[in-house]
């Protein structure tokens, strides 16, 4: 029957509608409701919350920081992750398997545990690394890490590195192993081969890895919450605070919807640009 595939997809579609579409729709609706300290949420249609977010520079700063951090994390994971993937790809067994596990290992540990690890290493005077560096006389005051953007970028880069490595590695595995030899035989040195032959072919992997890392970094919650705390908020921790501390759900909903909309737009446009750029080359 022609309708069979649709019927088979129906249960999953229903589940998707109930647990994803419905809450999203309700969140969007919530963002237009009114809220007051004493009256609570009033189901009316007003643009007050949206106006506030767009006019108050406080929110602009939050979103600016969110995307600045996401962009830096994306760049750092690309700069370190791409060579890592290349080296991994050239390894022979059993080393390749062992190092793949080392790279994927962090994914098996909770983000919270990993971020707390960074806090233990660099947190204030009692941080392990800070203590060691200070007792060695290399620094006089602890390196600022907690409640700084640098700290967030470092911790997020570590947390999201596996996604970049895996994405680039997948692209490199499609590489013809003889293609580097072909370049060498034509007179290209090792650096020229890397720049002209390997890098362009790894580029789709770097770009798609970048899209994943950017989206995860911009929407990350646990790491910014632990490293940044209340002092240094990003969009996701801001939404959390509006919901659970201020209890201004409609304002929190605006932040959440805005973050989602911005991310979806960026990811879709970036993906479209990448696919258009590489359509003729990689199909």
């Amino acid at each position: 029957m022609k309708s069979t595939p649709y019927l088979l997809a129906l249960p999953a579609l229903l589940l998707f509608a109930v647990v994803v579409i419905a809450p999203l729709g309700m969140t969007v609706a919530l963002s237009f409701h009114d809220w007051g300290q004493y009256k609570g949420i009033e189901p009316v249609f007003i643009l007050k919350n949206w106006k506030e977010v767009f006019t108050d520079s406080y929110y602009g700063e939050m979103f600016g920081r969110t995307f600045r951090i996401a962009l830096l994390v994306t760049l750092i994971t690309a700069v370190f992750g791409a060579p890592e993937a290349y080296i991994l790809n050239r390894m022979k067994s059993p080393w390749r398997g062992i190092f793949l596990l080392v790279i994927l290992g962090p994914l098996l540990i909770s983000v919270v545990a990993r971020t707390l690890g960074w806090a233990l290493l660099f947190g204030g005077n009692s941080g392990l690394v800070n203590k060691a560096l200070m007792s060695a006389g290399l620094i006089s005051a602890p390196l600022p890490f907690m409640f700084t953007e640098t700290g967030m970028v470092v911790a997020l880069s570590h947390v999201l590195m596996p996604y970049m490595v895996l994405s680039v590695w997948a692209a490199l595995q499609r590489l013809d192993p003889q293609v580097e030899n072909a370049a060498v035989a034509l007179g290209a040195g090792p650096l020229t081969t890397l720049r002209r032959i390997v890098l362009p072919q790894a580029m789709p992997g770097i770009l798609s890895g970048g899209i994943i890392v950017f989206a995860l970094a911009a929407s990350a919650f646990a790491t910014p919450a632990i490293i940044g705390g209340r002092r240094l908020k990003v969009a996701s921790t801001l939404a959390y605070d509006e919901f659970l501390n201020t209890l201004d759900w409609p304002l929190g909903a605006v932040v959440a919807v805005l973050l989602l909309a911005a991310l979806v737009t960026i990811v879709v446009v970036a993906n479209w640009l990448v696919e258009r750029r590489y359509a003729a080359v990689f199909r």
Binding site: D176, N181, A188, R196, A280
Partner: protein
């Protein structure tokens, strides 16, 4: 002094001897094939000439100079890989131009030579395409153009036609031979296909388990195989009274070795027979001249030249 000399070349991988005492002299402009089953050491030999594999022992000399002292990128050899190894992110013209760029050839000269070489392989109209948009045969020609455009001292072909279907392979054999004769580049072909080696080469080197079994012109190796391995590898063969006789040299006669036809297969231009005789199974190939031939089960007598 020969153009290219391989002297007592060895390659060991652990305890395994991939190439064992290979000595070969190739003249300028010659087309030589390294022929043998997989694992016979032919590809390893090619990679040692190219510089991708370091020999365990022996010498390689090109025009009297030690080639092993030269870095792979400076050897100036043209290589066509089995997988073609084209640069997928570059157009056909950019692929072919890459080697010239590395040599520092000026842009105008580059464009001219790329155009000429693409015309030579019949791809003049495809310069701006990407490799993925080409058929297997066309990709093969791009790989050949890319190797030839740098005017290599030697052209190395690693199973270049094995990824093509049978009909296209035959066409490319003819074309490859014409192009090679035209430009006169000394060529070494690695293949496991004896028909390909015989069709293309001035001389073939039959290899087995890392050792050379025979070196000679295709016709000579086919007619006078030095070892049973060569006889078997270069085509079907019958062992008659200890001598090896090709199936096409056996004919039906009124007297001679008696037998019965076990199977008869029609293959268009010839018939392929399997005959049961007192001396064992004999394979016979007869030209199809339109005449009636013995049917399956028929009693026949066999005669062969030299008997």
């Amino acid at each position: 002094m020969a153009f290219l000399e391989l002297e007592n070349l060895n390659k060991e991988f652990g305890t395994h001897r991939a190439v064992d005492g290979l000595t070969l002299a190739v003249e300028k402009g010659e087309f030589v094939s390294l022929l043998g089953p997989s694992g016979c050491g032919k590809t390893t030999t090619l990679q040692m000439i190219a510089g991708f594999v370091e020999p365990s022992g022996g010498a390689i000399r090109l025009e009297g100079r030690d080639l092993l002292a030269v870095k792979p990128a400076r050897r100036g050899l043209g290589i066509v890989f089995q997988s073609y190894a084209l640069f997928p992110h570059m157009t056909v013209a950019e692929n072919v131009s890459f080697g010239l760029e590395m040599q520092g050839v000026a842009r105008a000269e580059r464009g001219k030579r790329v155009g000429e070489t693409l015309e030579l392989v019949g791809l003049g109209a495809f310069a701006e395409r990407h490799p993925r948009q080409l058929s297997g045969g066309q990709q093969q020609r791009v790989a050949l153009a890319r190797a030839l455009v740098i005017r290599p001292r030697i052209l190395l072909l690693d199973e270049p036609l094995s990824n093509l279907d049978a009909k296209l392979r035959e066409e490319m054999q003819i074309e490859l031979r014409q192009i090679q004769r035209g430009v006169g580049t000394t060529t070494i072909l690695v293949t496991h296909d004896q028909a390909e080696a015989m069709a293309l080469s001035d001389r073939i080197v039959v290899m087995n388990k890392g050792r050379v079994e025979q070196i000679g012109p295709p016709h000579e190796a086919y007619e006078r195989p030095a070892t049973p391995f060569v006889a078997n590898f270069l085509g079907k063969t019958n062992l008659m009274n200890g001598a090896s006789v090709r199936p096409e040299r056996v004919s039906f006669a009124t007297s001679g070795l008696a037998g019965t036809v076990r199977t008869r297969i029609f293959q268009g231009n010839h018939w392929l027979y399997q005959i049961d005789t007192a001396g064992g199974l004999v394979t016979v190939i007869r030209q199809n001249s339109g005449e009636a031939m013995p049917a399956e089960g028929a009693a026949v007598h066999l005669a062969w030249s030299g008997s």
